[in-house]
Structures are given as C-alpha cells and as structure tokens.
C-alpha cells in the first residue's frame, strides 16, 4: 500500500502512526492539499491481498489457536503485534499489573478491532460537573456531534437512533440500517425486557449497504473537490457486508472500517501522502523558539537514524507510545520531556473496566441448523441504563457500563470447541459425548461488561531509566491501580449478567466474585488505553487544548487516545477519529492563517 517513493524530506505535516487517529489526520490533511508524511513503526499491510476471508480453523496451525505470537488466534489481522513485541519491551512497576497491546503494522489496531462505534454522550464530556469525580472535557457533546456525524458517514456505521439517555442519536441519514437480531439476541432481549434492561441495535463500523458515493462526499466536503473525488472513488470500491467471515481478520471487500481500507487509500489517491513503514519514531525535535521542526526515526530495515522535517508534527502512535515519544524528547529547556510543562505527559492513563460471565442456556439447545454468522460482531447490545439510580446515590459506584454479548452458532467451530464441558456432561465420552456436543452446540452465551474508569493518580506511564528497546530507545514503565469505583462496578457487572442468565433459565459457568479485584480485567487488557496527554482549558492542568494542540509547542498535536480526559464506557475508537478530525480541520485552518 505504501507505494510512493521517498521524494523529499520536508513536509507540511508529519503524522506518526497509521491507525484511527493517524489515519484520520493524514486523510484530512492530504485531502486539504497539504504534503503529508506518515511514519508507521510496523510493516506495510494490505487487507485486500492479505485477509484470510474464508479460511477455516482446520487449515490453520493448532486449528487457529491463540499463541504468544498470535494472541487473538492465528487468523487475527494483527501481525507483528500483541501483548509483547519482540525487541520492544516495556516494564511494569512492582505491585502493578498492566498489559500493553501494540500492533506493528500499517493501520495499527484498526485492522483487528471490534468495530464497536458508540458515541460519548453529553454526560460523558462533563463528568466532573455531574458527580464531582475526574475531569470535564474542554469541549461539549455539541462541539463534537458534527464530527461524529462525519466520521460515521465516512467509515460506514450500522445502528439505530433510540433516543436513550446519554446515548446520542446520529443525524438523519448518517447510520446504516442495523442487521436483524440473531436468535440468541432475541431470546436475551426478551429476558432483559422483564428485567428493565434495554437491548438495542449495536453500532458497529460495518456496512450493511453500499455507501451513497454520489451524496455523501458532497455533504462531507463541501467546497473541496479533491476530497470529494477521492472519497467518492473510495466509497465506490467498498462492498457491503456479505454476512460471513470474522471482522477481526480484517476485510478484503472493505465492508468494515480499517484505516488501511477506508482512510489510507483515498489519502494516497490525492498524491499528497507519502507513507514510510518500518519507521520507528523516537523523538520530536524543536528549534530555539520552541517550535517543532520534525521527528527523528529509525529505519528498521537499515537501522539508520533518519530525520523528517515538517511544519506540523502530529503524534498518533497510540496513547502511551505518543507519551513515550514526548517523554523521550528532552532538551535543556524541557528536561522532563516535550510538551510537558504541566508534568502530565504519561499521567492519567485509563483503560476500560471489563468483567465477564459465560453461560449455558438450555432453551438454545438442539436448535434447527441456521446461519448465525451475520455481521460477525454483535447485532444488539445493552447501553448503560441506570443513570437515574446512580444520580440518586442508589449504586455504590459512580459510572456506567454497557453490555456486549455473543454466542450461539456464530462463526465456525474453532480451537477449544466443547472444551470444559465436563461440569455439564459429567465427563462423557464416546457416543454420549458426541450427542452431548450436538445438544449443547450453539447454547452458550458470553456477557462482557465494558465500564467507565475514572482517571486516578496511580495509573500512569513513565520512562524506565534502566531499559531501552533494540533501537536504543528508552522504554515505558507502567503503574496501575484500580480504584474502588471500578472494582465495585465489576462486581455489579457480574451480578447483572448472572441475573440475566437466571432470567433466561440458564446456568452460569463462570465464577461470580464478590471481590472486585477477582472480577475485574487487568489494566490495559481491554485495549482501550487512553489518556497520558489529557486535553483541558488550562495549560497548568492539561497537556493539550481542545484541538489536541500542545500548550507548549503550538505546531505539535496528538490525535490518538492520549487527549482523552475521561474514558466513558463507549469504546474509544469512534471518538478518537471524531476528535482527530476536529483537530485536523483546526490544523488546516491554522496553517492557512499562518498562525502555526
């Protein structure tokens, strides 16, 4: 995909990272006529040629099992990535547990992500005003709403407008129709209705119909002929979902969103974007006036230290990697790292709270065969529904969670099929085991809570003074401690899921914990790490302003998850893109006005 030969070393903008935040920045800047260089630490990657769409588990080593090198299974889109990247270690402070997922490939984590695209709501931007905890964002929902509309229109998101509290509607004509519910989703909804838990169409970045390439580009880019043309061409090359193959492998027909299928092709088509892969950025440089001048990166193929010069530097290397680059960019005037006069670079790292319950539902046993693959991801989900209870002080945790659930006959049987069935079967084997498998097939449902974490002083990353990676770059050390808010929320999640399972006449197969520390996921494990470069209204208490612009270095921006001030239960990717788009419009405007 990275086809353009190296042509120069002076750009309008250098974008570090090619995922959600970097992809949007490069797309908006390049379609605005700016000369953009994108640096990606991983390899070139082309989902159209590389995605194993219909390959079955039987064709993969170990039937597609997860391995340390392919932690989400053999066919997962992530290559050269996972919880560990060879040659690129990180440290975890004693007493902390933290897992850091990285993708070293073009498109980053957008290649394998869950495609769950939920907007933050009005409460989510002003959480401190609402309950006194955490921080307010320097923008409101109304500020970002137009960018949510644009992002959803551009990438293609299915869902519905239900008008529920703090669960925003999209503007008319933005969302694509949601897919029909699967059998287990309908059965779960029936039980949840009796419990007063809403079950509504999920919002996923998967196209259920082709995009209107005649209408949308004009609405997205009035007055920008180049952007309209490349966007229309890109939209015409995307197919709608054909209801098969897991999205986590990526999508060769470009039906779901990945930076590599939706953002980078039209950005490259402008002729204004150059992509260099295998380019590991280590430092942002500044001149004597304190303006960013470019970045140093290591060409992984030659191990030569290279320099790229630009009028604007945009970091989108993932929240913690961007913090790492800033902390490693030191000078006489800024010994503690660039853009760090607040001392908050690397601070207030947040993940999503996770807890899960696995269950068996007798009503789903021995159903007539039918195809439940659908859109691969969930068709329905449960948004947080207890805002009133929380406000009235009737819950012992302050912030909400949504529920993701999956199971049934979705996807081909893979590694681990019917493993751990013994508690149900008494350890059957032979004809009885064969019959037991047939009976229980498709009758399992897993529930996953995804909850808001409030930023705290104990969760941060810093440079480990004792360790460098194989490129000689100092590595990060993570500190992590869940607060009671999160631990209690995790307990509530499990209890809620057990209640749903009970209402469905099923049995819980997981352990239900009363100790939140047992129920909760590890820091970083949900791969929603954000923060570390929070935005704000005051340079003393934030790293960036509301346009992701460094308070200290006016031509330096961070457009990944780092600017997040809070981490609502809404999965962050959609918001990263909307915020990055708003920041990118601002960059274009500032460059035109020659203010930066």
């Amino acid at each position: 995909m990275a086809g353009i030969a190296r042509s120069q070393n002076r750009y309008d903008a250098v974008v570090v990272g090619s995922g959600a935040g970097g992809g949007i920045a490069a797309f908006i800047l390049a379609t605005s006529g700016l000369r953009v260089l994108m640096l990606e630490a991983g390899r070139d990657y082309d989902p159209i040629r590389e995605t194993p769409m219909f390959q079955l588990p039987k064709d993969a080593p170990l039937r597609g099992a997860a391995t340390p090198e392919k932690p989400f299974g053999f066919y997962d889109a992530t290559v050269d990535g996972g919880w560990q990247v060879p040659g690129e270690p990180y440290s975890v402070a004693e007493g902390s547990e933290f897992m850091w997922w990285r993708s070293r490939m073009l498109g980053g984590r957008t290649n394998h992500w869950g495609r769950i695209s939920l907007r933050m709501g009005e409460y989510d931007f002003k959480p401190r005003s609402r309950d006194g905890l955490g921080f307010d964002w320097p923008m409101s929902y109304e500020d970002l709403a137009p960018y949510y509309d644009r992002t959803e229109s551009l990438i293609g998101v299915y869902g519905s407008n239900e008008g529920l509290e703090n669960t925003p509607n999209s503007s008319p004509g933005v969302l694509q129709p949601p897919p029909r519910p699967r059998a287990y989703e309908l059965l779960t909804r029936k039980a949840c209705r009796r419990l007063g838990i809403p079950v509504i169409p999920a919002h996923l970045a998967i196209m259920t119909q082709t995009q209107d390439a005649d209408r949308l580009p004009g609405e997205l880019f009035p007055g920008n002929e180049l952007a309209r043309r490349v966007t229309a061409d890109s939209m015409r090359g995307r197919a709608a979902c054909y209801w098969a193959t897991p999205c986590g492998r990526g999508c060769s027909i470009r039906a779901n969103f990945q930076s590599t299928t939706v953002l980078l092709p039209p950005a490259l088509a402008t002729g204004n974007l150059e992509i260099r892969t295998g380019a590991m950025v280590r430092e942002v440089t500044v001149d004597s006036q304190g303006r960013a001048t470019g970045v140093h990166y290591i060409d992984k193929a030659t191990l030569i230290d290279e320099f790229a010069s630009a009028r604007v530097v945009v970091l989108a290397a993932s929240a913690c990697e961007s913090a790492r680059i800033l902390l490693n960019s030191t000078g006489n005037l800024f010994p503690n790292g660039l853009a760090n006069s607040s001392g908050l670079v690397g601070k207030y790292v947040m993940d999503t709270v996770g807890a899960s319950v696995y269950s068996q539902i007798p009503a789903l046993e021995s159903l007539p065969p039918h195809n439940e693959d659908g859109a691969s991801g969930m068709h329905m989900y449960m948004p947080w529904w207890l805002y009133g209870e929380q406000l009235a002080g009737r819950l012992d945790f302050p912030r909400g969670y949504h529920i993701e659930f999956g199971g049934g006959r979705r996807s081909a049987p893979g590694f681990g099929a019917f493993a751990g069935l013994e508690p149900l079967t008494g350890g059957s084997y032979g004809q009885r085991f064969k019959d037991d498998c047939r009976r229980y097939y498709g009758s399992f449902i897993g529930f996953d809570g995804r909850g808001e974490m409030i930023p705290n002083e104990d969760c941060y990353c810093e440079i480990d003074p004792d360790r460098v990676d194989s490129y000689g770059i100092p590595v990060l050390r993570f500190h992590w401690k869940w607060a009671e808010h999160e631990l209690r929320q995790a307990v509530h999640m499990q209890q809620t899921f057990a209640g749903i399972v009970d209402e469905m006449g099923g049995q819980v197969l997981s352990t239900i914990h009363t100790d939140g520390a047992q129920a909760i996921s590890k820091g970083g494990q949900i791969i929603h790490e954000v923060g570390g470069g929070i935005m704000g209204e005051d340079p003393r208490t934030s790293v960036l302003n509301e346009f992701c612009q460094s308070w200290d270095v006016p031509n330096l921006f961070v457009t990944d998850g780092a600017p997040f001030v809070s981490n609502a239960d809404k999965n962050p990717t959609l918001s990263i893109m909307a915020i990055a788009w708003r920041a990118s419009d601002y960059i274009v405007e500032q460059l035109r006005q020659r203010s930066i």
Partner: protein
C-alpha cells in the same frame, strides 16, 4: 439486485494476480524460528510418509477454493501472501503451514487413533475421529515447541492405558481390547472430580485428550456438517432466524419487534 451485489462483492474479494514479492522485516521468536523453507520441507516429508499435517498449503488452497465454489466463475484467492514475513508473529495467513516437526512415533499414533475413536466413535451422522484425521491434529498439537508438557502428559497417559490393558485383561495393549474393556478403564478417569486420588493425573490426561479430540473433530468439514454449522458462505442478505427456530424458542409478536 441481490445477484448484482453478490457479483460486485465477489469481484472485490478477488484481488487478481499477486504482485511481485517484496521482502519484509519481521521479528521472530528464537524458540520457534524454523524457516519457511524448513517448514515446507517438514510438510513435504509428512506427506511422503502418508501422515501429512492437516495444514498443508494444498489443503489451504483447496479450502479457499471450496469456499469460493459458491461463487463459481470467479478467481479464488491468491495462494500465498508475498507481504508476510513467514514468522510466527507474521505467518502467511492465506496458505498456513505448521512450522514444526511431528514427534509421535507410528506406535504412539496407533494408540492415539484407538483412544480418539473411544472419545468420538463413528455413528450414523458422522465418521469417527480417526477417520477424519484427528490423530494427525493430536500429533501436531503435542509436537508444538510450546507444548512439551502436553507431550509428556500424553505419553504418560498412553503408557498407563497400555499397562491397565495388560494387567486387567492380559491384552498386548489398549487398542487390542474390546470396546467394552476400553470403556471399563476409561470410566475410572473420565471425570476428574470422581476419579480416585491416585488416578487424578490420568483423569487430567483424559480431560486434555478429550479437548484435543473435540477440537480436532468438530473443526473438520464432517464435524461442522454434523453440528449443523452452515455459515462461512457469502449471503446477499442476513434474514435473521428462520420460523422454525423462532417457534422452538417461543419467540413471536412483541419479541420480534
């Protein structure tokens, strides 16, 4: 409309001729760094011995082809991926290979086959585990460099089964027993919580073995057909559950709205 869309979809899924290979860097794990060429050699050797691993490139290509049979008239996916480094962290996802050597002996494979069919015998709906190559999967699994403990557990379990066969029934080995005799032994270790203390290690072996056979069997074409897994095919629309499913679940009216 739907036909036209399907055509368009299929066209997009068939990227045409693969471009020239470009060398790519990729880190590798020292403990698992068998080269691509070496891996292909292992596969070829396995095929020559008549014990081909289930993941030979030919199989993968065939599978891609059969997945696209529904789309006849269109090119299958290209057979391999020139961008992949071929390492454990960046394998060729389109033409997977098993990059390690198989370690079980012919004698061990005979025992594995016998026990496989005790776990999943043939019946009127589908073949037995050994008839669809599950012992080869067991070999692949316990031969993986990271699975040395599982290999030891397997060997220990098989040795115990043979010993029991000799001591209880005076047979040469476990495969020589009648099905009833085999069950008499397996009944003692089929469920770890019920197994006597001295047999718990063997019960854990049996549990792990059953998991291997289950994965190996239900992931085959025959196993998926038996279960009624009917997905992994492109559809012009997703229509939700059919009436007979809704009826069995007692879903109607308001439940569907």
């Amino acid at each position: 409309m739907s036909d036209e869309r399907l055509k368009r979809v299929v066209k997009a899924a068939s990227p045409g001729a693969a471009e020239a290979a470009r060398p790519e860097d990729g880190p590798d794990r020292a403990d698992n760094s068998i080269s691509r060429r070496g891996a292909l050699k292992v596969i070829a050797a396995g095929a020559a011995l008549g014990a081909a691993a289930s993941c030979a490139p030919e199989d993968a290509a065939r599978s891609a082809e059969s997945a696209h049979e529904a789309l006849s008239g269109f090119e299958p996916l290209p057979p391999s991926n020139p961008l992949a480094a071929g390492t454990a962290a960046d394998p060729d996802l389109l033409a997977p290979v098993v990059p390690w050597e198989m370690v079980l002996t012919d004698e061990e494979m005979r025992l594995v086959a016998a026990l496989s069919d005790v776990i999943i015998p043939a019946d009127e709906r589908s073949p037995s585990a050994s008839e669809v190559g599950v012992p080869d999967y067991v070999n692949e699994f316990v031969s993986a460099p990271a699975h040395t403990e599982q290999l030891t557990q397997l060997r220990g379990g098989l040795a115990w089964l043979n010993r029991e066969a000799r001591e209880r029934f005076g047979a040469g080995d476990f495969p020589a027993l009648t099905v009833e005799q085999q069950h008499e032994i397996c009944d003692e270790i089929r469920f770890e919580p019920d197994a006597p203390a001295e047999l718990k290690p063997h019960a854990r072996f049996f549990d792990a073995f059953r998991d291997m056979i289950s994965t190996g069997f239900w992931t085959t074409e025959e196993g998926m057909r038996d279960l009624g897994y009917v997905g992994n095919i492109p559809l012009p629309s997703f229509d939700g559950p059919p009436p007979e499913v809704l009826e069995q679940l007692g879903l109607s009216g308001e439940d569907l709205a």
